[in-house]
């Protein structure tokens, strides 16, 4: 069977004009979108990421170029074991060539390892831990949208500089929370601040009042929320209930996304400062993309930076395949690192040897209800960090690939 197929392939190589397909395993480029489709991260990633991937394939013009691209998706339920099992099945039996998105750092770390073992490609948009380009970096993984170091650097620096020099962390108790807390603590200490205490809560907690009370008792000026999605929403909402900001302490949401603000409402979220690498209202390109995205997304959601990252990563991935005419994971990733990136959402950028995608980051502040002109008009961009300053210098990452 196999021999027959390679014979056929050889024939088509010799005669067919569309030779581009020849090196593509089984003639189809199969993209697997793996993320949280039903839990606390579903609005930030979930079905929206599938929409973003679809738009990327469309905009790349795969059909016109004679490339056959298929998208499959699955729900990893934020569980590393579930995610690993899906990744293995996809690679081994479903002929998936690349896995994209994968929020939840613990799952992403597991998938990264599997991808490396199988020689496939992994484009991370959803997960945050900076270890993916640090001690756990891989020649088969590119970390696209953001990471914990960048968040800590962007948000942490800005807050310490404006006088927030004592911190208390409320941290999600898994790989992501630990990495975010570690990276933020480093920034706080480096800029002369102090960490007065920390508390770790299980992923997907409903009631944060106990943790908030401990934060209040610490008398820290800043309560750093090293969590995400539903956990951050509940923390912020309940902090308002307990009058924490009114009493003089400030919240630092270390990882906040546009859909979180949408869910909280401006009344509760106003004044929050955090870092994002994408906002829908940055320029004409982002606005045009958002219009198309929203039309297809569930409940007409606007894109989070994770969705934007999936779009940008998939486009660049397809460009690399077009250039080398092969979908071999290791080779494509190497090619992606060689080529400069350019897409409507993140503009021009590049990918470093350790797998870190570089682009600018934006320090944003949530508008007051009176400042917002309409639905989804939520951010004021306070500062732009250029690409070379936004992310961790390659030498500090301890990535074995660049030693």
């Amino acid at each position: 069977m196999l021999q027959k197929r390679s014979a056929l392939l050889a024939v088509s190589l010799a005669f067919a004009a569309g030779a581009a397909q020849a090196q593509i395993s089984d003639g189809v480029i199969k993209i697997g979108v793996l993320n949280d489709m039903s839990g606390l991260y579903a609005d930030l990633t979930g079905p929206g990421s599938v929409v973003a991937a679809r738009l990327a394939v469309e905009d790349f013009g795969a059909a016109k170029k004679g490339m056959k691209v298929e998208i499959v998706s699955a729900d990893h339920q934020n569980k590393p074991d579930v995610g690993s099992a899906i990744a293995r099945t996809w690679y081994d039996t479903d002929k998936v060539d690349v896995i994209v998105d994968v929020p939840t750092s613990s799952v992403a770390l597991a998938v990264s390892q599997i991808t490396k073992d199988k020689g496939k490609a992994f484009l991370v948009s959803g997960a945050a831990t900076s270890d993916l380009t640090g001690k756990a970096c891989s020649p088969n993984t590119i970390h696209w949208t953001y990471d914990t170091w960048m968040l800590a650097n962007g948000t942490g620096n800005a807050i310490v500089k404006t006088g927030g020099d004592t911190w208390f962390f409320i941290t999600a108790d898994y790989a992501f929370g630990h990495a975010l807390e570690r990276d933020t603590e480093a920034v706080v200490l480096k800029t002369g601040g102090k960490v007065l205490g920390k508390v770790r809560h299980p992923l997907s907690t409903q009631d944060f009042s106990s943790f908030l009370l401990q934060a209040q008792a610490s008398k820290a000026k800043i309560i750093g929320l090293a969590n995400a999605g539903g956990d951050t929403i509940n923390s912020i909402k309940q902090a308002a209930e307990f009058g924490i900001v009114k009493a003089g302490q400030n919240l630092a949401g270390m990882l906040v996304f546009l859909p979180d603000i949408h869910a909280l409402g401006l009344q509760t979220a106003q004044g929050l400062i955090f870092t994002e690498t994408f906002y829908w209202d940055l320029n004409d390109n982002t606005r045009a993309f958002t219009k198309r995205f929203s039309a297809q997304a569930p409940r007409n959601l606007y894109p989070s930076m994770i969705h934007a990252g999936v779009y940008s990563a998939v486009i660049h991935y397809l460009k690399a395949i077009e250039a080398i005419k092969s979908d071999d994971g290791t080779k494509v990733i190497a090619q992606m690192k060689k080529m400069p990136t350019d897409d409507p959402l993140f503009g021009k950028g590049s990918i470093r040897a350790d797998g870190r995608k570089l682009h600018p980051a934006y320090l944003v502040e949530v508008k007051k209800p009176s400042e917002s002109k309409g639905p989804w008009d939520y951010y004021k961009v306070r500062n732009t960090l250029p690409a070379d300053q936004a992310f961790r210098p390659v030498a500090e990452g301890d990535c074995p690939l660049v030693k």
């Binding site: 039903s38 839990g39 606390l40 991260y41 579903a42 609005d43 979930g46 108790d173 508390v199 770790r200 809560h201 299980p202 997907s204 907690t205 409903q206 009631d207 009042s209 106990s210 943790f211 009370l213 401990q214 209040q216 008792a217 999605g229 539903g230 929403i233 509940n234 909402k237 309940q238 209930e241 307990f242 009058g243 009493a247 859909p259 979180d260 949408h262 869910a263 909280l264 409402g265 509760t268 569930p298 409940r299 959601l301």
Partner: protein
Amino acid sequence: MTEIFGVPTQALFGQLLIGLINGSFYALLSLGLAVIFGLLNIINFTHGAQYMLGAFFAYFLLNKAGLGYWWSLAIAPLASGAFGMLIERTMLKQLYKLDHLYGLLLTFGLALIIQGLFRNEYGSSGLPYPIPEELSGARNLGFMFLPNYRAWVIFASLVVCVGTWFVIERTKLGSYLRAATENPALVQAFGINVPRMITLTYGFGVGLAGLAGVMAAPIYQVSPQMGADLIIVVFAVVVIGGMGSIMGSIVTGFALGLVEGLTKVFYPEASNTVIFIIMAIVLMIKPAGLFGTQR
């Protein structure tokens, strides 16, 4: 300042109070489950979804009909209860003669369907619901800053729990109910409409879940998963208290809220497992639960 294991006593008081507030929700929900199990022998896995429905009813009433929190407090439990009775009449009724397992499977399936539909429609981040004007703000108790709304939650759930216990254990209506579970044929022979009583009881249990949902809406996001996150813990509460024991579920609900609150101070990483550890221990020592009797 005096300290207990490195935690100032004052802070500890605050944490105990917080635990009590969470315990209120456990108590309200496990009470409904206990009533339903005690009187219908149905393990109602839809309870979490019905709690979520209560919160969504409150959200709809506010945003579509302009009716505020207090109206919701009255209407949402009735609406959830009516929905519950519909389920009982059309589906659960068929299962009374079968093993518990069938009721469990049916209600679990229903819960998945309801949650899935709501997630499709409203997403996972949830919808905001404001704290009612009258109960916004907070007071300083000296050892902690207590939001007025949370104080109301403790008060309201205590009243509802004690009221329910009183009706079932101390009134004539309650005695009919209890008799009907022991021997429905005999009670029916006395001219009492047992099937209708069972329907109303299920409706009441579901109504309690809806009520808890309304009370939870201003504290948490109104989100499709809110019930799924809670229901497993609540089942553990019911098992620890003793399946079907009314008093057991109330006392255990509040007590486990306290235990969980303390865990969040001393070893927060274990705060979502501590209840199950207690459940395992209780089941080993007293398989029928703390307040349960072996049937």
